[in-house]
């Protein structure tokens, strides 16, 4: 009986509709659906609280680590030379043979080139440096790398996006492909593009990474969130960036 049950449930799953991806011309940032006040807060650098983290990031960029090895600027020079990086990450990492996101790359540099322990997820330092790097790409269109070595991560991310998970049996696609623009209680469901991370969320009263956002969505689905820094999250990030291109980078964005 159990085996029968499993077989029948498998048939159920395969019946689930394959969600349609949003065509490029119809892709919209969550920015567009925000109130005029919140939009104004994002675009005015004197009002956008995320700029405080960008400023911290600029300091960290030039500060030598405790190990006495070079600061980020010691190897990379002006941060402006990294314009475009945030628009193409996650990228393929030769050393690990897997996809790596921008936060992972920052921590990799810290470990390998600066001989210092990696920053904690959602730590002020990691958010500040990634906000600073994202800020260098502000306004640039998201430009996914063509690297075929990223294909496994892309495929995994796309599958995770469509999988029903958690007690409520919802998928990311159920909300962000099929029901964007509708109201889920008080919130308008956005298309779910990671254009502005790390971003300042009024509800958080602080800056947060895209993984923090995804963990919020997963908790809402009554699902066990993936761990910070997990391969699943990097794969989802890769897919989300493909799905969002060519929307411009907004880091640091503001969201309700």
């Amino acid at each position: 009986m159990r085996r029968l049950a499993a077989a029948a449930l498998g048939a159920f799953a395969s019946l689930a509709a394959v969600a349609d991806e949003i065509p490029q011309a119809e892709r919209r940032s969550g920015f567009d659906a925000m109130s005029a006040e919140t939009r104004a807060m994002q675009v005015d650098d004197t009002a956008n609280p995320g700029l405080l983290w960008v400023q911290d990031g600029a300091d960290l960029w030039t500060r030598a680590p405790a190990s006495g090895r070079p600061a980020c600027a010691g190897c990379h020079g002006e941060a402006a030379t990294l314009r475009g990086v945030a628009a193409r990450y996650p990228a393929f990492d030769e050393a690990s043979g897997a996809a790596i996101d921008l936060q992972g790359r920052i921590n990799h540099c810290r470990r390998e080139h600066q001989g210092d322990p990696p920053y904690g997820h959602e730590s002020r330092e990691l958010l500040a440096l990634s906000a600073y790097l994202g800020f260098q790409s502000r306004g640039l269109p998201i430009a996914p790398p063509r690297d075929p070595r990223l294909d496994p991560a892309r495929a995994q991310g796309a599958a995770l996006f469509r999988e029903r998970i958690g007690q409520l049996g919802l998928s990311c696609a159920a909300c962000h492909d099929d029901n964007h623009g509708r109201r889920l209680g008080a919130a308008t469901i956005p298309q779910g593009h990671p254009t502005g991370y790390p971003l300042y969320r009024l509800e958080w009263q602080g800056l947060g990474s895209v993984q923090r956002r995804l963990r919020n969505c997963m908790t809402g689905m009554r699902a066990e969130p993936f761990a910070y820094g997990s391969a699943e999250f990097v794969a989802l990030e890769r897919y989300l960036m493909d799905r969002a291109a060519p929307l411009p980078i907004e880091t640091p964005a503001v969201r309700p």
């Binding site: 799953a13 049996g169 997963m218 009554r222």
Partner: protein, 170 residues
């Protein structure tokens, strides 16, 4: 996403009952299916005609469950005649008049396992332990609503007639 009402998909539900394997499968995954004191939950056509419990549903308790965003979650997706709750959702149809459009048995199946009617629906199956992976620790092995809560919600929905804005059926 396909949006089909229970009536259009009634054929699918009937096939579920007629195909022995599927009927067993659906039964085995219902919450409380292991409770041998009660007969298994039986889908007949597009409905579950028999109440899940012996205690009749209480419409007032049902209304409280529907209004509660952390229990019923209904108003996240539906609007309904519950004026004190602002910010109601619009992913599903307005619940006003649900009791005119459906029998209690149809409402019961829609709540217990709406996917038996429409496999693509995003409405959670409230009394079927969801087969989806990665259920959060606090929810693992549990249905969204217990059998008595389902009966309470069914009793409340049955009071939502097209000819009333609020309150019991006339």
């Amino acid at each position: 996403m396909r949006r089909t009402g229970p009536h259009e998909t009634a054929g699918k539900a009937t096939r579920l009952v007629l195909t022995a394997g599927c009927l067993l499968a659906v039964d085995a995954s219902f919450a409380g299916a292991t409770d041998t004191r009660r007969p298994p939950i039986a889908i007949v056509g597009d409905a579950i005609p028999a109440p899940l419990t012996d205690t009749p549903g209480d419409p007032a308790r049902g209304r409280a469950i529907v209004a509660d965003r952390t229990r019923g979650l209904c108003l996240l997706c539906h609007a309904g005649p519950i004026p004190e709750e602002r910010f109601q959702g619009d992913l599903g149809p307005d619940l006003s008049g649900a009791g005119s459009r459906h029998t209690a048995g149809q409402l019961r199946l829609r709540l217990v396992d709406g996917r038996a009617l429409n496999p693509d629906t995003i409405m959670p199956s409230y009394h079927r332990v969801d087969p989806s992976p990665r259920v959060g620790a606090a929810w693992r092995g549990k249905p969204v609503l217990e059998a008595q809560e389902i009966e309470d919600v069914v009793a409340y929905l049955a009071t939502l007639r097209d000819d009333t804005r609020e309150g019991p059926a006339r």
